[in-house]
Structure formats: C-alpha cells, structure tokens
Amino acid sequence: MTTLRGSFDGNGDRRRCLVVVFLRGAADGLELVPPTGEDGYYRARPLLGVRPEDALALDQRFGLNPGLGALHPFYLDGDLAVVHAAGSEDSSRSHFEAQDLMEHGGLAAGGWLGRFLRYRQDPAPGALSAVALGKTLPECLRGAPAAAVMQSLDDFTLGPESDTLLPRLARLYAREEGELGRSAHDTLEALQRIEALRAEPYRPTGGAEYPQDELGRSLRELARLIKARVGLEAATLDLGGWDSHLAQEALLEPLMTRLARGLAAFYQDLGSDMEATSVVVMTEFGRRVRENASLGTDHGRGSVMFVLGGGTRGGRVTGAWPGLDESVLEGPGDLPVLNNYRDVLAPVLRRHGAGDDLSRIFPDFEIDPLEV
C-alpha cells in the first residue's frame, strides 16, 4: 500500500490516537472501584456497598465492580491504570459547571483536547485529525484545528457518485502545484482507503465482539477509522446516564457492562494498534460517600479515572488516597479530590507528543503528573 503524505502523513506506524470517554452525569467512583479495604465504606453504604467477595480484586484496598469485569484482564496485564479520588477543583457539584470547567481545562478559551491538537509538537493537522463520535462536538474539542462530528464511516464519503467523482477530481487537480496539489493528492488517497473499507463489511479482529449499543457501535466505527490510517489523533465518545440519585444498582449495572464490554472489544479489535492508542475514561465528579434513602447517591466530589493502552503504566491503583474516615471527607461528606484530572492527563498527553511544557494546554495550573 502506498504511504500517505502531507496532511494525512505518517499515521501509519507513528501517529498515536488519544480516545476520551466521558461518563456524563457524575459516575460514582465508589461503586465502580469500591474501596473494599475500608470499613468506612460499608458503614456509609450498608445497602449499596459492593462486598469484597463480589468485587474483582485490584489490590489490598480496592476491587473492581463485577459489572466492569471485562476490563479486569487488562488490569492484570498491566495495561489498565486506575486513579481514585480523581476530579477537578470545581466544587459547585453542578453537572453543567463541572463538565464545562473540566472540558475547558480551567477558565480558558477552547477545550483542553482542542488546545493539545493545536499546540502539540510537530502539528500536521489533517482533515480527520479529530472526531467526536456522536451528534455534537464536546467542549473539550473546541478550538481544535479541525474536528469532525461523526456517527459512522459513511459520513466521510462523496456519496453515491463517489466512483464517478474521484477520477474526475484527480484530473481537475492534476495540474495544481504546491500545497493545494499535495493536499488534493492526499485527500484522494484517504477517500480511496475509506471507500475500500466501506466496500466490504467490517470484521473486527482478535475475536472482538462489540455490544449492540450506541457506545459499542461508536467504538467499532472508531476502530475502523484508526485502522484506515487517515491521520486520526483524537476521538471523543460520551456515555451518559450516571446520575444515580435513586436505585443506583439497577441504573449503573447496565452502564458499567456497556462501558467495559465496549472497551474490551475495542482493545481486542485494535490488537497491536493499542500500543499507540490510549483510552482515558473520566467523569465530572463523584458522589456522596453515604447512600441516600432512595438507594442512590447524591452529588459529591472525587471519582475515578481509567487509563488504558498506549503504554500506560497500569496494573495498579495510582495516586493519593485519603481513606473514608469522617474527618477527611469534604463538605456534606464527599470523597475529596486528591488527584487532579490534569495530572492524570499530563503523562498521557506527553506520550502523545504534547512536549514537556503543558502550560498552554492547561493554563494557570501547575502540573504534578501522576505515574499512569
């Protein structure tokens, strides 16, 4: 296969892709990654607490909710890192404010992922350098040099007349010199690749079986696009519905299963491409330590983050952990945020070519990177 150049340059074996999965609605870190070694956890959650024998052990202190069981093997293989007591400095406990601040990376213009794409070393923005799987562009991608909202690979075609158009476009641009001519050449090659992929039904590799839900379908299209090598550097996906004020277990169980099975299929499907693909899972804040009277939990502070693949130093629960003693809880009884989300993102962004100086991506914040 010919090597792509110019605006679609170097995806091949060099370009890396950063995938951000945002759990909207404030996912309960204490349900996803229960601190099974803390007595305080079971005191605060007599009905909702995940029992140690039900959880999949991560270390002496923490277990993984069985609903996320599909991710456990990656943790054991050292390719999945977990950060607890993670979140932002925003204490509004408002979904809108907290998501907004977290996605912008502080009080700044544009989103953190958009700024990363704009300011990273050696930027060569291609038409498909960033995609948002879904219907709208998330705030974190604002200000990206180019960002496409897509639902499937079919969004990137010239339509039913593509076969007629492509050779004629090649003729029209044949005499163009300079950058425009090169860009035309690259675009034609990328379109041919996408058309070739579309022509045959997609068969995931590695025995991957994507769940038949929206996240599963999006991850499947994303894997396809990464394999198409069209220069993709960042992708965002949303999984909503985590606002578990009542009947938490019934609400979260299917969400966790969707998340874990989807990511597991993605991981298996990408195979060795996972070495150059990082997945970050984050949420705007966590939930009150003490369960409420409706078998749910209310808005809190610290939650969890996951980092998967792309050279993650995984197989452990990283970052400071305060315990759940009443004296350490914040405000109305919330797990404090000891690990700022920027400090989790920092090492990942550096592996993706952000360079040492992250001050333009995260202004007004002193980075103290975690080992993930």
């Binding site: 912008h104 700044a108 213009a109 038409a127 180019a146 476009l169």
Partner: protein, 498 residues
Amino acid sequence: MRSRRGRAKEGPSRREILTGGLLLASTLGCKQLDEALLAPLRMPEPATGPFAAPEGAAIDPVRHVLNRLTFGPRPEDYARVRALGHESATAVRAFVDEQLHPERIDDTPGERAVRRLETLRQPAGELFEYQPRLLLDELTRGTLLRAVYSRRQLYEVMVGFWSDHFNVDSSKGDCKWLKAAEDRDVIRRHAMGRFPDLLRASALSPAMLWYLDGRRNRKRAADEVPNENYARELLELHTLGVHGGYTQRDVMEVARCLTGWTVRSEERFGKGRVEFRRHWHDDGPKVVLGRRIPAGGGEQDLDRVLDIVALHPSTASHLATKLCRRFISDEPATATVAEVAETFSGSRGDVRATLRAVFESEAFAASAGSRFKRPFRFLVSALRATGARTDGGRKLRDYLLGMGHAPFQYPTPDGYPDEPSPWHGTLLWRWSLASALAGGRIAGTRIDLDRLRRDLGGGHGFRSHLLGRQPAPEEDAADGTPEVELALLLASPAFQRF
C-alpha cells in the same frame, strides 16, 4: 424590558406554523413536508432575473468586484451589477458605492432570514437566561444566513473581518452568554463606521473584558500586579501591530491605565454589566508611547490610551496591511498598503473611506482570482452561487467544524488566519459538501438545479457562472449528470479561489 408575550405577537407562533405546515403537508405529500417546516425561516424566493454569466476567458472587473465585496455572486448578481453602468468601469464604481452605504440598501431578505432567531435581539442582561449552546447555535446561524441572504454584502464581509480582528472565543467563561451581545453592539454597530469608535466599544465590551481578562486587571494594593493580557493584545493585535514600536514598558503602562474596568459576573442583578471601580484603579502618573498621562485621571485614562493608539501611524499601517490582505492579496505591495494607510489617517479612521482606497487601488484591479477561499467563504459562496434555500442549520455548522472554521470558536486572540496554508487540508470537507449540496443531501438546504441551469441559459452559462469565466477544456465536461457536474465545479480548484 419587553415581555416575551409581546414578542410572540409579531407573527404566528412556531407551533401555529408547524401545525399549518403539517396540514399543508398532508395535502401536498411527503416531499413538501420539509419545505413546509422550513417556511418559518421565510427564506427569500429565488430571484427572477434577468440572468447572465461572465463571458471572458479570465475573470472580468465586474465579476472580480462581486467576488471580493461579497461572499460570492448569486445567479442574478452579475447581470444586475453589469447593468449599473454603461461601461463596465462605471458599473464597478456604482457597485462599490452601493456596498459602501449599507444603510441605503433595502435588506428585506437578510432581515427576514434571521427574524426567528430571537436571541440575536435580546439585551445583554437577558442572555443569561438562555442555554449557551442555543446562543452559539443562533449566533452561528444568524451569521451564516446573513452572509447567504443579506444584500448588504460588503457590510457582512466587514463584520467577518472585525470578528477576526477583535476575536472573542465564545467558549471562555461568561463569553458564552456575552458574545451574542458583543456581535451586535460592538462589531455590527461599528463595522462600517469609524475605527476609534469600534475600538472603544470593544475595549468596554463585557465579552472582551472577559475574554482577555480585563475584568481582573486591578490594583487594590501596592503589591498587586495588573493583568497585562488585554493591554498587550490591544497594542499587538488591535492597534499598533507586533512591530508597531511599543515596548514591554508600554504594555505595563497601558495595563495600569485600564485598571478598575470590570464586568459584573457574580451578582444576581446587573450580571454582565461593565463598570469602573475607582478603588481598583491605579491613579498614579503613566507614560504611554512617550506621552504623559497625569495622575488622577481615573476612568478618563482609558480614553487617553485609546486616543494615543487608535489613530497612531502604526495602527494605520497595521490595519491597512490586514485590509489589503483580506481584499487584495496575501502579500500586498508596500506602496498599496501605504496609500491605504494614508487614507485611514487622513479620514481619522473612517472605515468606508479606507475601504474605498483599497478598492480603487491598481493592485486591487490586478488581483482577480488570486485568493484562496477560507472554509466559511467556500461554504457560503457555494450556497449563494447555487441560489440555495437554507435554514443555516446544524449540518452546515458541522461542515464548518470539520473544516475548523466555525464562527466565534477560535481560541486565540489573533483570530482565524487569513493566509491559505492552514486551510489547504480541508479539501475532504469541501468535496464532501460540494457533492452533498449538488445531490440534495444536506438537511435543511435545497437547490433547484433545473431552474438554475435554465436561468443561466443552459450548461455552458451555468459553468461560466460558477467559475466566473469561460470554462477551461478540463472544466467543460458535460458528460455527467447535472448533479455530478455541479459537484465537480464546486469541488474544482477554480471554485476554491476568488
């Protein structure tokens, strides 16, 4: 404060229209349903002509002035402008005159197109009641629809120019709400007026005070250091230019002069209002660009600073360079820039006079077809060239996002770049848009291809209209369907330039 109920009486409610549309649709069948639902936006009827296409082998002066003063000619524009004068040169002059006076142009189509976008008319204080996403949606749609439908085309082009020059990213802090008011009260109000008025309006605009941190520029204690962000961009980007002869010392002195101006952000009442807090102001003496500003000036310091910079020779030259780049070529000749700068200074910053100097320069006349369209212009020019009826909706905004050129979403204060190279990588989206528009696959946007070809006198006239000149042999292939032909013309290298 006008009541919501009062506004609703201006016309039938959306609900009434939708219901009417559905009744209508049930008698018309499915295809018309879309049209009926789009009707609330009152898209202008297609023009009735007369029509003509350019006949020269190269872009002629009438087409050139249409290319540059508008977002691209509509099917009826060439014939209309050509008829403005006996000679082609007089027609061009008459068109420039017309466009330099937007207030004399009846703009029913442009006003109708945005009439339903109610947030565009909300006073700044009321904007906080809306979801930011809705505000950005309506502002983007309004910008797009005006660019497509307004007859005050040069005015809209200048609104775009100043929106880049005084860039405010609507995603930062309260700009999410305040940018909508700024677009109307600062940029649109002064776009064809006097630069010093525009500059002052921008300096005191709540959105700008948020965007460049002016609201936090204060000196309440001896050891508090002013925030220089706005002061620096005021000199570097808005007035003198990066090589305009100021020093770091000047930036710091300007910042001191502007201490105390802020915008209410926490208060329940008056949120978004600009005010001067005397006790935040550094009232000592200052020196800006060698000019002394005595102590005790208080809020007057702002006007003293703006008086020094607004009509400074470096400002004249910086703005002349940017205008020449926008309207003439990427690397305008020094002599042309100097002429335009002189007019700017001589007219005390009159935007119309300065623009006239640009359009009357020899360099302008000699530059036909040499500029590369930025994505917004590409998209709008395609809609105008095809006489499309559009609601300016989500699908078009997605194309702009894909090409990295959605209005009000550029993060850094220098505004979207004017030079072509950052935009060369957007061909995938341009071709995709060309194909989708020609094939009728853009929701909320329709073209009548048969009518368009008929109006322009058949395939050859149609091709000349889109290219602005006679087609070259490789552009004259009439062997595809009309949809394929249109897609190729819109995707062709010639249509990427103007």
